[in-house]
Amino acid sequence: MTTVDVIEPAKPQVGRQIFAVWRFRHLFFFFTRNSIRGYYANTILGWPWLVIRPLLPALLFAVLFSNVQQFKGNGLPYLLFLLSGFALWNLVGVGLRISVRSISGHRKFITRMNFPHMIVPLATIAPAFAQFLFAMVVMGLATAYYWWADGKLYIHVSWRLLWLPGPVLITLLTVGGIGMLLSGLNAFARDVRLTLPLFLQFWMFVSPVLYPLTVVPEHALKIIYIVNPMASVLDTFKWILFDIPMHEPTFVWYAAGMSLVIFGIGAWFLTRLENALVDYL
């Protein structure tokens, strides 16, 4: 039994590259594990960071905006609103922050090993996802606290909860797509990495993380929904969890479609860069 290996000049195709990710799934998991290990390596606290990271900003903003009545008009404790919002939003924020420098950071692997390079930005989102899961646990604990304190269970328990992976998946696709695009660009121009925090800050302010969409005037709402698919994803996420009413439910499908398009563009971009990354990184 002998394996036969033929090497020829190749112009990689997007579809084949995506299938190749499956063939090289062992590397995907390798990078996943590596980036999670690396993310909390050399910390003194270790795992408590997973709890502190989502809890602290939420507490901060909860205190900061405790007097703004418009933000808590939906009968939900503001802290729960923030925790759930930050949980999903950090998947975007942290995910992009890591993946933007993933390709330049894994230079050694990319120039020395053969594998579809889109694995790198995709796999390095893993710490963000881990953080998301822990944020959900923290939110669960907060819900339990309010159940004990207010005597009311805010989580809307129904079959609807089974839809929860939906918005998460849409977010992952979006982050993956943008991550592929930005990490590829960042390999050539480090300006991308410097611009990203500003861009993320702006993006968060036009997403319903700190405030519910009820405070947004009606005419601006549609623009936000169209420009920012994450708005309706966050909306849907909270609708599933807490049964907060949604403004325009149909925009979720738009967001889902957009996430696929973004992912496709990212994958196409990195496929085009496949050869260039090896030779010029």
Partner: protein
């Protein structure tokens, strides 16, 4: 392996048979039709090929756990590596001409292959660097092919293309068997993990199951020779330890093809020897190796054949010694068919005020000065000693070296100069003593004068090569060539012809007979 053509000394004979041009030209044209690459014809050659390739014990056992795709078995006389018209071009990175003023952006836009109306532009030929230019060769299974050439010749690019880390621009490489590459040592080793943890993790990186690695963990630990350091964090390792760990890991992944780039450069002597030994054993078991190195002694020991690259082109491929000689000659800027004596000139500086080593010469059996020997014939080393003052007594030691190996030393009797003058000391080198390698000769004279004692040294006084011309008989059948080949091996430092007695086993052994008187 088919019968090989002989070293440079005999290639005229061989090429005459094949109707090839004279030796000088043959060297240049060898890569076009390499006479060594004939598929086995004779019955014994076929038998050898079959023996080498059949069964489980010669080829490394096929590992089921590997997640790499396995195909149906192929005819065993297929080459393990076949490279056809391989080219690799790089685009010059700093292009200021382009749709934008920025080099990085231009490069990015060029890579996007956008239509012209979107800022896309046709690549221009003058923006390219050719790293590999139409390279073609074949390597048979169970061969170690050395790759030599000056810096920037394309050696590493060739290996990178073969390891699939960069795609070729044109051409094709076909490889049969699992490939392991040792291009970047320490790739994927995590600083904050121990050696053992890294080895276990590497399985995930190379797509090998954890069980496969665990089964070989002990072997890897033993081979690496790291001892307690194996359980220390890798960041505490020295660069040599890095190499030990990576090499131990890769060679124990049991590849069928190994691509190695300068692996021996960092390890210590003991590890180098261990690596060479291991690679040689595995090659005998059917491993195919591509070995890039600037260490000619290592190439001579390890490789059966050598590929010489220069400026991305194949200059020559063939017998190890032949190619190395040609490469050396090209480096030293000497155009010649055979290496000529490299002795120091007569008025050399190996002297002090009392004694001068005036010359060191290698003489053929006919007494002519020469730079190469036929190992089946006598030769002489002649040393000229000149005393400038009266009353000098001296002994001269002549050291023969191969690479860094001191092969032997021979010492003159005491030479006495009553008066200033010149004497000639000659020693006879018997036939069938030296091996067919390149020797270096160092001469050292220690003397006692009236007022002083001192040593005069002529290091590197002579470099000469010994050829074995007896092995190739153009009319011999494959069978005889096969039998003759057992004598020929480039890596022994001496090959004395000793007195063998062969007789039928019914008689008592010689030792017994002698004991009885």
């Amino acid at each position: 392996m088919p019968p090989r053509p002989a070293r440079a000394g005999s290639c005229a004979v061989f090429s005459a048979r094949d109707g090839l041009p004279a030796p000088g030209e043959a060297a240049k044209k060898r890569f076009v039709s390499d006479p060594a690459f004939v598929y086995p014809k004779g019955p014994i050659a076929q038998l050898r090929t079959a023996r080498r390739l059949d069964g489980g014990h010669t080829f490394p056992e096929v590992v089921k756990n590997l997640s790499m795709p396995s195909e149906l078995s192929v005819p065993s006389d297929e080459p393990a590596i076949k490279v056809e018209g391989l080219s690799k071009e790089y685009q010059r990175k700093l292009r200021t001409k382009g749709p934008t003023g920025n080099a990085a952006l231009n490069l990015l836009l060029a890579q996007m292959r956008l239509p012209r109306w979107l800022g896309g532009k046709k690549k221009k030929a003058d923006n390219r660097i050719v790293a590999l230019d139409d390279v073609s060769f074949e390597v048979r299974p169970g061969t170690c092919l050395g790759v030599i050439g000056p810096n920037g010749a394309g050696k590493s690019t060739l290996l990178k293309v073969m390891a699939r880390s960069t795609p070729p621009t044109a051409g094709r490489v076909t490889m049969r068997g699992r490939v392991a590459s040792l291009l970047e040592l320490g790739l994927g080793l995590r600083d904050d993990l121990t050696g053992r943890e890294n080895v276990l993790l590497a399985g995930a990186m190379y797509g090998v199951s954890r069980r496969f690695i665990e089964e070989r963990l002990e072997e890897i630990e033993a081979f690496s020779g790291l001892g307690q350091m194996f359980d220390e964090q890798v960041k505490a390792y020295s660069s040599g330890m890095y190499v030990r760990l990576s090499f131990a890991l890769m060679i124990n992944l049991k590849p069928q093809i190994l691509l190695a780039d300068e692996i021996l450069a960092v390890g210590d002597m003991q590890f180098q020897e261990q690596c060479i030994e291991r690679v040689r054993n595995d090659v005998a078991d059917g491993l195919t190796v591509l070995f890039v190195s600037h260490d000619m002694a290592a190439i001579e020991v390890l490789c059966d054949r050598v590929l010489w690259l220069d400026k991305g082109r194949v200059m020559m491929i063939g017998e190890t010694l032949e190619v190395i000689d040609a490469y050396r000659d090209s480096v030293h800027g000497v155009a010649r068919a055979l290496p000529v004596i490299k002795s120091k000139p007569r008025d050399s500086v190996f002297h002090n005020e009392e004694l001068v080593i005036a010359w060191v010469k290698l003489l053929s059996a006919e007494g002519k000065e020469t730079g190469h020997l036929d190992r089946s014939r006598s030769s002489f080393i002649e040393i000229g000693l000149e005393a400038k003052k009266p009353g000098i007594r001296t002994r001269v030691a002549v050291d023969f070296e191969w690479g860094n190996v001191k092969v032997f030393r021979t010492v003159t009797p005491i030479v006495t100069f009553e008066q200033p003058g010149t004497k000639r000391a000659t020693v006879h080198l018997p036939p069938n003593l030296l091996a067919d390698i390149e020797y270096k000769v160092h001469v050292k004279a220690r003397f006692v004068g009236r007022h002083t004692t001192d040593t005069v040294t002529a290091s590197d006084a002579l470099t000469f090569r010994v050829y074995d011309d007896t092995a190739t008989d153009p009319d011999s059948a494959d069978a005889d060539a096969y039998l003759l080949e057992i004598k020929r091996h480039g890596s022994h430092v001496l090959r004395p012809q000793l007195d063998w007695q062969v007789e039928s086993d019914t008689l008592p052994a010689i030792a017994d007979r002698e004991a009885k008187g």
